[in-house]
C-alpha cells in the first residue's frame, strides 16, 4: 500500500469518520509515522466532540404547541386544497391551545382543575397542577368542565374551558378529532400514549353557537392500524341555558 500525503482536509475527514475504509487505512498508515499529524488529529477530534456536544439535536425537543401547529397547518392546507364544502356549515371553532406552562400557571392560581389523559388505576401523582382521577373504569374517557365529569351525551357550557380525560391502557398514538360531518373532521390533538401513563392535554373551548359537539378519540398502534376509536357527543349550552336547567 503506497503512502499518501495526508493534508488537513483529509485528516479532518478522517477525524469525522467521513472516509471510506480504504482511505481510512491509508491515513492510519501515515499517522503511525507522524507525531505532528497525530497531534493535529487530536485537535480535530476535540473540536468535533465539542461541536457535536453543543449542537446535538438530541437536546432540542419540539414543543407540543409547535407539533400541534404543524399538524393543524397541514390539515388546514389539505382541506383548502380540496376546496370549499358544497354547503355552508355551522362550524365549531375550537380555541384554547395555550402553551401548557401558561395554562398550568393560570390553573394553579385559580385552583382549578386540569384534565389529563390518565390511567384510572395508576398510582401516578401529577407533579403539576391537579389531576382529575377517573374512578369509573368502564368508561375509557370522559369530559371534565369546572370539576364536573360530563359523560357522553352530557352538556358542556359554551365559552368555558373543558378537558378530555383519557384512561389509557394501550400503547400507541392518540388522536382527538372534531367531527364536522360524515366526510370531514379536524384534528384537535395528538400525542404518544403508553399504557399506565398520563399525558398533558391543552384545554378546549367551544365558541360558536352550534348546539352539538362531536368528538372522535382514536388510538393507532405503530403500524398505523387503528386499534381503538370512540365517539363523544355533547350538547353545547350557554351559561344562561345551563343556569336555567339547574333551576
Amino acid at each position: 500500500m503506497a503512502d499518501i500525503i495526508v493534508d488537513d482536509g483529509l485528516l479532518v475527514a478522517y477525524a469525522d469518520n467521513q472516509l471510506d475504509s480504504e482511505q481510512r487505512k491509508l491515513v492510519e498508515k501515515t499517522l503511525q509515522s507522524s507525531e505532528s499529524l497525530r497531534l493535529k488529529l487530536n485537535k480535530f477530534n476535540t473540536s468535533g466532540a465539542i461541536l457535536r456536544a453543543n449542537l446535538d439535536v438530541g437536546q432540542e425537543v419540539i414543543p407540543d404547541h409547535i407539533r400541534h401547529r404543524i399538524l393543524m397547518l397541514d390539515q388546514q392546507i389539505k382541506k383548502e386544497r380540496l376546496g370549499p364544502p358544497s354547503e355552508s356549515k355551522d362550524i365549531i371553532r375550537i380555541t384554547g391551545f395555550l402553551e401548557l406552562p401558561t395554562f398550568f400557571s393560570i390553573l394553579s392560581d385559580s385552583n382549578s382543575l386540569i384534565g389529563k389523559v390518565c390511567y384510572s388505576n395508576s398510582s401516578i401523582v401529577p407533579t403539576v397542577g391537579h389531576l382529575k382521577r377517573i374512578t369509573n373504569i368502564e368508561e375509557q374517557f370522559t369530559v371534565v368542565q369546572n370539576d364536573n365529569e360530563i359523560q357522553n351525551f352530557g352538556s358542556i357550557v359554551r365559552n368555558d374551558r373543558f378537558n378530555i380525560v383519557w384512561e389509557s391502557h394501550l400503547d400507541g398514538d392518540l388522536y382527538i378529532y372534531e367531527i364536522i360531518d360524515d366526510y370531514d373532521k379536524n384534528l384537535l390533538f395528538s400525542s404518544r400514549v403508553s399504557a399506565g401513563s398520563f399525558i398533558d392535554m391543552p384545554p378546549l373551548i367551544v365558541v360558536s353557537d352550534k348546539a352539538e359537539l362531536q368528538l372522535e378519540v382514536e388510538v393507532k398502534n405503530a403500524n398505523e392500524v387503528s386499534i381503538y376509536t370512540e365517539e363523544i357527543r355533547l350538547e353545547v349550552v350557554s351559561v344562561q341555558d345551563s343556569g336555567s336547567k339547574d333551576q
Partner: protein, 159 residues
C-alpha cells in the same frame, strides 16, 4: 411522503441551523415555521423522493438571505449609528447559538462561512450532505472544514 410528520421529526435540526443565521430563538422559530408553511403549501409539487431535510435547510438559508436583502435599508440605517443588526452579541435574551455561551461567541468570531459549515456538521450532516447544501464540491468542504476547525481549536485554546 408524510410531509408534516417528517418536518416534525427534523424540526430540532432546522431550529439549530436557523439559530445559526438569526438573532435569536423567536426569529429562528419564525424562520423555520415560515419554511415549513411554504413546504406544506407546495407539498403536491415536491418530488416525494426529495431529501426533505436538505430541502428545508436550503429553503431556510434562501428565505433568510431574501429577508436580509429586503432589510438592507434597515441595515444601512443601523450601520450609521455604528451597529449592525447582525451583531448577535447585542441580543442578550436570545441569539443563543448553542448551549455553551463560550462556543457561541467563538463561532460568531469565526465568520459566517465557518459558522455555517461547523453548525451543519454539529447538527449531524455528513460532508456529502454539506457539499450538496452549500452547492460546493466535497473537497471544498474538507478544506474549509479543516481551516475552520483549526481556527476553532485556536480560539478554544485562547479562551
Amino acid at each position: 411522503m408524510d410531509f408534516a410528520n417528517t418536518l416534525i421529526a427534523i424540526w430540532p435540526k432546522l431550529m439549530k441551523y436557523s439559530r445559526s443565521l438569526t438573532k435569536g430563538n423567536y426569529a429562528a422559530e419564525d424562520l423555520v415555521m415560515e419554511v415549513i408553511t411554504k413546504i406544506l403549501e407546495s407539498a403536491e409539487r415536491i418530488d416525494p423522493n426529495t431529501n426533505l431535510e436538505a430541502y428545508a435547510i436550503r429553503a431556510i438559508k434562501n428565505t433568510f438571505l431574501n429577508e436580509v436583502k429586503w432589510d438592507n435599508k434597515t441595515v444601512s440605517e443601523i450601520n450609521d449609528s455604528g451597529e449592525s443588526i447582525y451583531d448577535e452579541t447585542r441580543d442578550e435574551n436570545s441569539g443563543k447559538f448553542t448551549e455553551s455561551g463560550d462556543l457561541e461567541k467563538i463561532l460568531m468570531n469565526l465568520g459566517s462561512k465557518c459558522k455555517e459549515i461547523l453548525v451543519l456538521f454539529g447538527i449531524g450532516s455528513s460532508y456529502k450532505e454539506i457539499a450538496s447544501l452549500l452547492d460546493v464540491k466535497i473537497g471544498t468542504v474538507m478544506s474549509r472544514m479543516a481551516r475552520c476547525r483549526g481556527s476553532l481549536s485556536d480560539q478554544l485554546e485562547a479562551s
